[in-house]
Structures are given as structure tokens and as C-alpha cells.
Symmetry: D3
Subunit: 317 residues, 6 copies
């Protein structure tokens, strides 16, 4: 079975209610290899909020994307991989812990149906919910995290343990992330404490700063990702603040000095051989985009590249 | 059969891909009393363009609306009237005449299924296509037109007969509008020729300027509408530039000095006893809205009021 | 002791970090009659979020206001009333219940120091926290609520009892609102249930819709407010969505068809003789304002009018 | 001789570099009755700046206007009055006094050629320069000032005598305004000193507040303007902050609570029999407009109404 | 004869109605070497529209540019090349084929007067009209196309042969492009069909992807352009979507991952020895720019570089 | 004594009126090593204005920054350097010369108290005022100027000697800049005269264009800065238009083709061993930023890097 998007050479892309890349919107994930699912929670956001509107903003720009990926041998992603858009998980705004539970349940349905969840956030705390759902089937996961922050703090305001700043400590504590197969890429900028980065190393993560990425080169970084995650299933999480604010202004915690869009895509396109059982693109708060909506377009493009990476893996397998 | 929208006290309104008022999106109009249909064409726009994005902008704001209308006896609109959102008619951008044909065909399917089409434009030329489809079933129609311009010019640039400035001359010429049961409401502002208004009178329309509306009072205007359209089926078309640009900035041809939102809604809520077989809200170009998207919200509210007017009629019948 | 704002005929208003109306910013409320306090929580917001940035947006526009109020006998508000800006209460984003507790504690310090808290929200749930603090000193309060919604629902998503939709049922249940001395003004628009308004009447509130306000006239409404609240201390809460979205686009739940700014101010300026022991202006989410920031300016103007009302009362006493 | 604008039913309004209402742009005012002239100075602005871009913003929106005015007997303004757009006066940004001198010289050329200058500002201090130029030919002028502020302060920051807050005291001192034939209309909002309004009365101006305008009614106000200015030549200055910020957000000193666009235009259209020898529309700072540019459109519409008032006078004469 | 722009060290750049780089605006191209001409048509736009406002947006930002180009030996472009701004070609909005005809006629007048047309679009279909006009004098042209898409599809919606997606197939079919002297530079992103790029190769174009540009280096690409176009007259067309959306958000079909502004300009400045008989910059839709208008500024800068390239050629000749 | 900012892991960054990096706001500079001071003057701006709102825009985004700088050995800047935010210098809008005098006086108080002034502009003319104040204590200063323009013109409009285009000629003339220890970095773009760059060389400055910066490499440029300024105290001035408009759109005179944010920060972080006695970041006009406010964020980040450079110097000393 294949589920193909509408052909934008036949009907204008602005026609119709926008699903991700104009894919079908079935009621369940049955028969799918991968499922787009919106995770519209921003209860974990410590500064800018509004990522609850992220999934639909990404969908609206994703209609500009086309199914064939020339960076992986002109693969038609949707012929290689059965994908659909399942709409959004329900959330409870203002109630972080309940929201994570509801998201976990929604993602678990996708996982239980045999499909890889492809989440569109939402603040970064939603990844913890996804990891819980995916690990319930696949066991401890390798984590590939693109981000300008480690998000491995212990607590945030009022001693709360759940926020966009803590998921990757919680995930290790809960045994759903295998830090020895995990890597954090893109850290940069000023720090709260002098342990902001070392706390990740202490947990067992490999960490590459933004400067490391440019000093090593994209090919070498891609190879490190492959090597680090080898031997098991992995989850790739892409926080849009990995990218420089000039190319991704609409994020919740922008950090000046990141890679631009071309560099980001060239790095993603260099990755091969990672066994992805789930992925997400998070932290898009569309009110902070200008009218050009470039953050949403780049977020959609990143997700399309992740789908192509999955499709390549399936074709290779 | 009833087709109820999602309950926004149960799931947050920002969850899910937005259909009009969170209504179901079936494939056809079968079994419906009324059908929302987007008409995303702006090929008829003589100045500002971008109304191709109007339907989805209205949908996105319509999720804030609720099903019960207190201005018509707390009627639950969707229990009284079976309504759904059918998505958009296809169009051919840059080809005005083809676009009108494609829209007519799409609307004709709605009409043939027995439902009243409720269009969301698109520039005002789309109304001509709707009128053709609706009149093919119901015969010559009474027209209730809210607008700051008469749109009864003969030709526009390069002698073209089809544009947003000509539909209500064309409709009379084509015999699908019955001017003796038609009324134009809201004309104001500077004129191209000194016949801009009299050309409508010459065609047989009744014309009320914006000043007339305030001098007569809303109740009297509503009664004139009822009296004028009595005796047959009617189509109500609402050009958002009827409203003042402060309350509806995102229109294609704004005209300073119109009614505000409260006055507009009070006038619409005063109308009773019109036999509507179709309606539309047109000329919303969302790029010209500010971040508050007040034009789209008001457009959605106007459409909800028109649905309530239809529902009241059905309940009364 | 008086605490006067900087004179904007002496130093430009754009000079310096903006406090409310350029007032001093002491560490505590000691010696004050009234204290501006920001309540930057949006964890109760069911749709649009971002009111956490409301207090500073209002401050930034408030520097345009001047100390003398010609609508109450050219009173110099800050000579009649000792006012200062205390900065913001701390909150816990994403944790609604904790946020309300922290806000209550911060407001209680103001109340305990003998000053009337003048809150700038924040979503409407912050008013519950303020009422708890104020009632702890003054006992059950008369409530004067300007709003397009009653906010007296019992529960919201996931059965949660605390959100921007529930404070004025909770307040009655907690015995801190005296509904027999309370009035809700401005209700309008479509409803979730046909009990949306009657649930307030059943609780004992007087309710005036937006249409009632115009049918009665501003003077009569102001007199009703005075009469209704007579005999005890009152709290006035002003939800910016009372105002039409054309004049206040930057609200969390806009409702088309409200009073404009002139009508709103004329109504507020007609109120006399209410014994205010606290007040607030809430639901400003500045990302939804255009560059003109008209919602923030109007919010600041409303607060300045409430201070003038307090000052008049003190002068009269 | 007539100088007609391009016909927007023949060529689209967006074609070509926009002059005011698509009028010709001759090198001098020879042979003209009235001349549009941009006055792009904002050196007098005490708060928001950017009015240097006002003239071109007004021109860009003015292309939507048409030559025939139905509110004055379907007069074709440009057949009755020879008008052209002379471009902008040069200014010296950051040097208020030099800028006023350069503007005066540019306007004097218009006046000396026998045309009435129709200025587009620029902050309100530019009116002083215009008055100097016009009075050099016509003697002391009656002033009709629409504004929410009196602008009759003596000094501003650093004791400077020239700014947007002082022109109408300076004009009286310089003997170029005859206060006994002058009227200020629209004052409202909070005051710096309790003499902000009485200082105008002391100078001999008649002053109507915004509340006065509504209490008297538009017809009565228009008659007062006619009566007050009778017996000599007058200059009409329209500060856009006369209008409510919802309809005119892009002003330098917005004041909540003014008339809306419909009310403003109805008042202007009620004026007859004023002998205008010059006029202006000032204080438009287009960066504060949203994408709909409603302030610029309203400013252009106001200027078009003033031209129609002049044309009516000429036809009557 | 030289025609110099206004000196922006003498009069502020914001003074006066903006022509391109403040150049004179004569009625015809007589005596000119090159002529700026706006081509405000967006009837060919398949997704975002609004490029009808592109020419004036580019003009408004072009006033920031200065006449001397330090990248080509401090050449004063307007002393070496007689240039003026001829305003806009007329178009027929909503009628793609008529618009192309009208544009062709307007450009033909420029060509017939002996000047090189320098078009500012408008969607990319306008280039077909320009090529027709230029080839009518110079014969089949070498084409240098900067673009992220090939625009060599055969048909678009409804089988239409004319749109922004087809001009460079049509041009080959019509014999006005010589593909053997033509090169397309910048292709990237996802594809509709796996022949999206090969269809250009099959037509005879040389094609360099964005990745090719970076792998070869700017100097090598510039040399390829020179070599490819040698031996005859050429037309250079610059689609702004060649550039990354971070630097050019206001395009009709943005494609993430392109060169930034510095890289783009360095490439253009490396080009020498191309015999340009016409050029254009297209696909700027200014509503999608933020308030900084960076796309319009970059578009103006690109055009200024193309004028410098022409001037260098003339000086060398 | 240390003066530490609020900890943003303890209280949300959006709580409270924003000072720079949430630092304390004492009344004077006593006891400080460095003092942030806003310089809100835009009277020197020749094109875009509005930098008077720059200081508060930078403060609002600076709350996202954290105290520890990993690029200089995880130094805690505020433990190494006593810093506070002193608010803004007063200015006289529209009076350039008076504004410079008032700024000089305010900065002189900082200098006299023994602290290094860290200015936030404001247009670039404010740097002349700072240099006067700093040189009054330290004698002629080495100048490190990041900028796309030399700002060494002699006169601007109307022969005025003081504007944003002249401070670095004036500073040499006044003997407060020692050009032999000074360097200008980042020049690019089109020129007014062919002496725009050579006039700086003639004055004795070293000049590196943007192309030079990339050709030499960041490390080499940083070493040149160290070598050039050796032997005495220096002032570093950072004009935000050094950066490309994609990363810094909100500047007064944008120049396409500059370094991006990552390149800019890498260059700044490579600088060591410069004896800074003052610095500034200027030319931020926040109305030209999109909603993401990326220019303000980058400006705040640049200032934080300059503070770290100072702190490193103090630690080393």
C-alpha cells in the first residue's frame, strides 16, 4: 500500500485544508510505516510560548515540498515509505504533566500500530513523552539530538522536574535513553552554570558544540552519528534552535550563532545508516516568524529530510 | 443526521487541522443542508491580491466560534442544520475565466446534492460562478449584497468582462440575478465615474449607501432586505470591504468609513425571513491582516451568523 | 508621601526602563495606597497564549499617559493616591495551580501592606489568585467584571478546575466573591452550551450583555454598577476582550462585536462611588498586537482610569 | 487647464511609481490651484518617530482613491481644481530649526505660484513652517485644527521652543495665526498639567473636546467651524491622532478614545463654506501601521476630502 | 549624455517619490544604454502571489544604494552607462497571456530605442515576455539563470502552458533561447518528478545545483558562465529564490538551503565578460518581507551589480 | 563587591521589568567596573530612524543571556567584573548637537566614577559623545570599529558636521581618536564617492573590508586588532550594520552582503588582549526587526561578548 500526497502540478498547493505535505489524513496508523503527528503543547516552555500553534504552521508551509528527494538518489519518499498525517495529540494547556501523559498515549497508539512516530512540536518536553512511548516497544533508545542547549538540567522553576529544559536527564533516569548510544549536537552560547555541558558528559552523552561541527566538518559529524548510534534503534530529535535565529527566528529560546539552513540541510543529508524508529522537529512558535514563515518552512523541510532518511533505510533493508 | 463540530470545552481549539468551526470534512455534500466550500481564487482582483489564502485563514480563526447562537433564541445551529466543510474548489491561478468555470462545477455538485453552498472567497468574481451554479437549480435569484462597491462595471483592464468589479452586471445579463428582488447595501467612498451608483439603479437594483444604513437604522434596513427578497430564493454575498478597514483591514479594496464589527453583526442579526439557498463571504486577503487576524475572525463570525439565519429559517419552516 | 512619575515634558518618554506610567519602583508596598503588580501567567489560557509578556507590553505603552485626569475634575492622580510599580509576581509556567499560589502570595504582601493591588495580567485565571489575597483582608467582595465571556464554567480540558474559563465560579464556591453585590458586563457572541449565561445568573450574578450596554446607555450601566456594589468593598476586573477586536486585537480569546475604545472609556469614566480595594486588566497577549500596540495602550489607559476612580474615591472620602 | 490622474479602470493602480492619487508630477506649481507637497520631517517628534516616511506611505495608498466625490454633488475634484503632486520639500534630519526653514522655503514657492499648499507630514511642527509661508501671502490665518492634543505648550525638552508640541503657541506669537478665527477640535485623554487645555483658551482659541464633538453632533460642529473661520482665509491642519488608534494606529502620539473613520469622514464632509488657502494631514508614521496600512489609507482619504472641500468652494465661487 | 541619480549626501534618501536608485524618470528610452522597467505581473504565480507590488518595493529600498561600485574598480556606474527608470509596463491582472503580450510590447519599445531592458518582476513568467522582445532584435539569446528551480516544466494547472514554471521550456521551443549558450544555476530541494532537472539537460541547458556552486567555488562558476555564454548576446535572469529564505524571505516559492547574500554577491561580482543585452530580477512579493524589507534591498543590490557588470563591459569595449 | 543578575533557572526570564541581562539598576556607577548605559538618540540618522527605542529592545532580549561564557574558559562574567545597568542618558530629540552634549555628560559621570561605559545606541553619532567623555580621562583612544561604512565623511545634509556619517572624522579632528592605533573593519557595498574608503586611510586608520575579513580569516583579523591597538587604552564600537541584514535587519542603514551571526561571534570571540576602557553597540532600530527580534538578540549577545572580553582582561591583569 502506498499513500501518496496530492500532486501540486495538478492542483494548486493553496487549495484545501493543509495536511503535512498534502498527505492523506486517516483515522489511525494502521498499515503505515511512519505517521506525522502534531504535539501542540507549550506548557514546558520557560520563555517564549506559542508552540501549540507549531504543528499547523509547519503543515501550512509543508505544502511547498515535493515527494522526490534528489539527495538520496531521487528516491520517491512516499513510494518507499507509507506515510500519513494523523492530526494532533490532545493536550491539557497549563498542565505540563497531564499533557505529557496524553501525548504519550497518543504516540503509543502509533507505535503499537507498527508505525514510526514523526512528531511536530510543541516545546521540547514533548520528546520525553514520545521517547516513553517508543521505548515501550523498542527498549532503550539511542538519541540523536540537534539543539543549542543540552536540556539535561535537573529542575526548573519551583523545583519542577518536567519542562523543556529537563527531558534528556529524565530520559536517562527513566532508562528510555541509552546515553552510550546518544549524541547531542550544536551546543553554543552563554551558560547558566559551568556544568551546563559537563552534566551531559557525566550522564554518558557524547556532545559536539556548534564550533565542533564546523571544525570537524559535516561528513565527519554524520559519520560520528552513525557510529555512535550503531547497534540499536534510535530516535532523532531536532530542536529548531539548533539553527541560527536568522534562519529560524520562530523558536522559543533563540541562540545567536548557529548554522544556517544550507549548512543544516547539508549535515542532515550526509547522515546514513541510522536505524530511526521515531523522530521529531520541535520548538517552533510561529508567532515569532515573520510573514515569510521561514522557520515553519525549514521545519517542514527538516522533517521531509528525516522521512527521506527513513525511506532510504527501508529501501536499503 | 446531524454532523456536530468538535467540542472546544473538551479538546483545545488549537488541536488538529482546522476545518470551518471544527466541522467534519466529508467527501461529498450528500445528506447535508449546507456546505462550507472554499473558493481560493484571486485572479479577479484588480488591486491587492492574495485572497487565495482566504479560505484557510477563515477556517483557522473559525475554531474560536461555538455552535449556539443567542441572537436567534439560543438555537444550536448544527442541530438545526446539517453542515460540513467540503474543502476547496480547484482553481487555475492567473486564468480568471477557467477559474470561474472550475468553481461553478464544484459548487454545482453541492447544489445537485441538495445542499446550500456557503462559499468562502476568494475575490468577488467567485460569486458569479456560485450564482451560475445555484441558479441552475433555483432559477433567477434575489441578491442581497453587502459591499462598499456596486461591482456592476461593464469592463475592466484591457476590456476584460470578468473581474471582481463586474459580477453583478454579468449576473443580470445572464439572467441568474433578478434585480427586482435584489438589494446592494453599503456603497460609499469616491467614484470612478458619476454613474458608479446609478448604473446599479438602472439595472433594477435597490441601493443603500453606508450613510443610508445609519440614517434608516439597522431594523429598517433588515426589513427592507426581507421585503425586497420576498417571494423567491435568494443568495447573500458579503464582501468584507462592507466593513470599515479598522475592523477588516485584510480586504482587497479597502474603503475608509464603513460600519464597525458590532454594527455589522447587529444588522445581520436583525435579518429574518429571507429564503437563502446560498451565501458567501469574500475578499479576505489574510496577508493584510495583522497578527490578530481580526478580518478572518470577523469573516468567520459573519459566516456563522449566515448559517444561523439559515438554521432559523429551517426551524421556522 | 507622594510618589510622582517622571515628567514627560522634561525627559523624553522613551528614556529609561519603562515602569508603569514612569512611576517609581520600590521594593515593597509600604506607604502606598495602590500598587501596580504584573501577573505574567498564561498557564490558564485555553487558546492563544503569550499573556506572560502582557505586563511589560502595557508598561511600555503606559509611558504615553499623563498624571492629570480631566474626566474627574482635573485630578492629579498621583498626588491624590500614592502609587508605585512593584514589578511582577513570580510564576511557574506550565503549572497553573502553582502559578496561582505564587501570585496569591505576592498579592497578599501588597494587601498586607495596606495597598490596593492593581494587577496587569496574565490570563484571567490570575484574578482568582488576586481575589483570594484581597478577600483574606476584606472578606467577600463585590465583583465588577468587564468581559465578553462569563468565565463561570465548572471545568475545562481534562476536567481541570482551574483555567481562564472558571475563576468566577470558583470564587463564588470559595466564598470570596459575593455574587449579590457582583455584576458581569459585556457578554456576547456564540455559546458552548445554552447555559453559558444562565449559569452566571444561577450563581447570583447580575449579567449585562453587550447589547444591554448599548440599549441601556453608559450612564445607566454605570449607575447599576454603583448600586449593585454598594455596601462593601469591591474588585473590578477588566478582561480586554470586553472591547471589540478592532480596538483590542491582542487578546487571548477575541470576540467580534464589542464596544470600541471611545465607548469603553466613556463607560468607565461614568462610574462613580464604587469602593475599590483592588482591580486588574487582563488577557493582553502582545504578540497579537500590530506594531502600533493599540491593545497595550488601551490596557494602560484603562488601568489609568481605574487609578483615577480610586483617587476620586479617596479624595471624596 | 486640467491635470487629471491616471484612470484606474484603464490601468491597474499598482502600475507605476505612485504619486498622490496618480496625479501628474510637474516641476513647479505654476498653473495649479492646489499642490500636494510631502513634508518628510520628524525632528519635532517627542515620542515615536518615522513620519519622514509618511508622505510616500500616503501616496502608496492614495492610488485606491477615485476622482469623483459623491458627498459634494458628485463633483469631479480634478476638473474643478487643478492639482498636482510636487514631491517632497527637502529637510535636515536631526536639525529641527533648519528643517522648518527648508520646509517654509519650499512651501513659499507653492504659495508664490498662486497655489494652495496641501502638505503631507511629517510631525506636527511642519505646520508652523507651512503657516509661515501661507501667512506671508494671506496674512494672519484662521486655523482649523483636528487633533487630540492642543500643541500649545511653550517649551519641550531642554527648553527647546520648536517641536511637535508647540506650533500653535508659536503661530499665535508670530502673528500668523488669528486665534479669534481659530478652533481646535478633538482634545482628549490625560494631561501633563491642568492648564493643557486652558492655555489654548487663554490664547484665544475655541476648543472642542472629543466628548464635545459627540455631544454637539457633527452638523453643529461643522457649522461652528464655518462660523468661527468666517471673514478670512483659513488653514486646516489634520493631525491623524484626532482619530482613534484602532482606525489610525500609525501616529506618533496615539490617544485612545477618538472618533472612528466613519465618524471622522462624516464630520469632514459636513463642513462647507470655509475659505481654505492651505491644509495638511500630519503625524503618520507608517512603521506603526499593520500590513493593511489603514492609517495611510485614511490619511489619503482625509486629504482627498479636503481637496473636495476646496473644489466645492471654487465651484461655488 | 549622462543621467545621474540624486546625490544622497546632499538630500536625504527618504525625500521624494522613489525611482530606482533615485534615477531620472523620462518618458521614453531614447538616448539610454539601459532602462529599468517594472513588470508588475503575478498572474503566473502558482503559490504565493503579490509580486505585482515587487517593482515599487525594490525601488523604495534602492534609494539606499550609491553610484560607485568598488568591486569593479570604483566605476561610477551612471557615468559609464546612461540609465533611467521608465516606470512599469501595464499588465492585465488575472489574464496571464494578455499580461505577457502587454509586457512584451512595453519591453520592445525599450529594445527598439537601443537600450538594454533591466526588468524588475513580477513572477518569473515575465522573463518570457522580455526574451521575446529582446530576441526580436538580437536573435536567440544565451540565458544565465539564477534560480532554485529549472522552470522548464511543460504545463501547469489545467494544462496551461504559460506560468512561472514554464518559461524556459517555452523560450527554447520559441527559438529565442539558445540552450547551448545557456546555464541554469542554483537548483536545489525536493522534486515533483525525477525528471525535474534532467528535463533541462535534455533541452541542452547546462545545470549547476546549489551544491555544485559551493563545490566548484564562486570563481569557477563565474568562469563557466563566461565560457558558456561566449560568442553572442545574453540575458541574465535572477530569480530571488536562488537565495536562501533567511536572506530573501519575500519570494513566491521559497526553497530552504540556498546561498546567503554575501555568497550571492560575491558570485555575481566574480562574473566578467558576459555580453548582456538585458537582465531582470524577479519573484519578489513584498508582503512576505518583514519590516526590514531585506528581500527588496537585496533585489535592488543585485540589479545594481548587474548594471555595474554592464557598465564594465561598456567601459572595456 | 559583585552585582549578580537574577538567576533565570530560579525565576522566569519574562518576570519583571527587563534591565540588561537582568542586572541590578543602581543610581550611580560607584563601585562598578563597567556600566551599561542606554543612549537613545536617533537625531543623527540620515535614513531610517527609531534607534531611540534601541536600548530597551536590547534589554528585552538580553534576559535570554546567561552569565557564564564558555568561549573564554567558562568565565563567570559578573563575578570577574562588577557590572550594572544605569538606565539611559537623557537626550533632546530633533536636536543633534544638544543630544551629543547631554550624552557626553551622562557618560562622563560613568567615567569619573571609574567605570567603563558600555553604551547601547542610538545612531552612530552617539559614539562621538562617548569618545569625548572617555578620552577626557584616558587621553586619545585606539578605536576598533566594526561597521559596513567608514563614517568619516566631513559633512552631511545642509553642511551639518554632526550626524551618524561623520563621527570618526570628527574624533580624529578633536584629538580623541588616535588613528595610528585604530582600525575599521567590515566596509562593503556601493560608495557615494570614490574616496569613501581612502578618506579613512588618509586619516591614518587601518581599514579591512568585509572581503578582507574572509580572505584573511577571523584569527588573523583578531590578531591585527590586538596588534593595532597595543600600547594604550581603546574603545570598541560595534555598528550592527557590520552584520548581514538577514541576521540584523533592524539597522538604520542596512548593507547587503555582510558576515552572519556565527561568523561575527567567532570573530569577536577570537579577540584577546585589547585594553578596553569603553565600548558600544549601536544603530539598532527595533521597528525594523521582525517579531523574532533577532537584531536585538544579536546586539545583546555582542555586548555580552564585549563584557566577557573585558572580564578576561581584568582576570588576566
Amino acid at each position: 500500500m502506498t499513500s501518496l500526497p496530492k500532486d501540486s502540478l495538478e492542483s494548486p498547493r493553496f487549495c484545501g485544508v493543509p495536511s503535512f505535505m498534502r498527505l492523506p489524513m486517516p483515522a489511525t496508523a494502521e498499515g503505515l510505516d511512519a505517521a506525522i503527528i502534531g504535539l501542540p503543547s507549550d506548557s514546558g516552555a520557560p520563555f517564549r510560548t506559542g508552540a501549540r500553534f507549531g504543528p499547523n504552521a509547519v503543515r501550512a508551509m509543508s505544502v511547498m515540498l515535493r515527494p522526490i528527494n534528489p539527495y538520496r538518489g531521487n528516491i520517491n519518499v512516499f513510494e518507499a515509505l507509507r506515510v500519513a498525517d494523523l492530526g494532533d495529540a490532545p493536550v491539557v494547556p497549563g498542565y505540563e504533566i497531564d499533557s505529557l501523559e496524553w501525548i504519550e498515549q497518543a504516540v503509543r497508539k502509533v507505535v503499537d500500530a507498527g508505525a514510526a512516530p514523526c512528531g511536530i512540536g510543541g516545546d521540547h518536553s514533548v520528546t520525553l513523552a514520545e521517547l516513553r512511548a517508543v521505548a515501550s516497544k523498542h527498549g532503550p533508545l539511542g538519541l540523536v539530538q540537534f539543539d543549542s542547549h543540552t536540556d539535561t538540567w535537573d529542575k526548573y522553576f519551583a523545583g519542577k522536574r518536567y519542562s523543556a529544559g529537563t527531558p534528556f536527564l529524565r530520559g536517562v533516569e527513566e532508562g528510555i535513553i541509552d546515553p552510550s548510544r546518544s549524541i547531542q549536537i550544536g551546543m553554543r552560547g552563554s551558560l547558566f552554570r559551568d556544568t551546563d555541558v559537563s552534566q551531559s558528559l557525566d550522564l554518558g552523552y557524547e556532545v559536539l558544540t556548534t564550533d565542533d561541527v564546523f571544525d570537524l566538518g559535516f561528513e565527519a559529524v554524520a559519520e560520528r552519528i552513525r557510529a555512535r548510534t550503531a547497534g540499536g534503534p534510535s530516535f532523532l530529535t531536532f530542536d529548531m534552535d539548533f539553527v541560527d535565529p536568522a534562519a529560524a527566528p520562530a523558536v522559543e529560546t533563540p541562540e545567536a550563532g548557529g548554522p544556517n539552513a544550507r549548512e543544516t540541510l547539508r549535515l542532515l543529508r550526509a547522515i546514513h545508516g541510522v536505524n530511526l524508529v521515531g523522530c521529531d522537529v520541535v520548538e517552533i512558535s510561529p508567532m515569532y516568524d515573520g510573514p515569510g514563515q521561514i522557520t515553519a518552512l525549514l521545519g517542514a523541510t527538516v522533517m521531509a529530510e528525516l522521512l527521506a532518511l527513513m525511506a532510504e533505510g527501508r529501501t536499503a533493508a
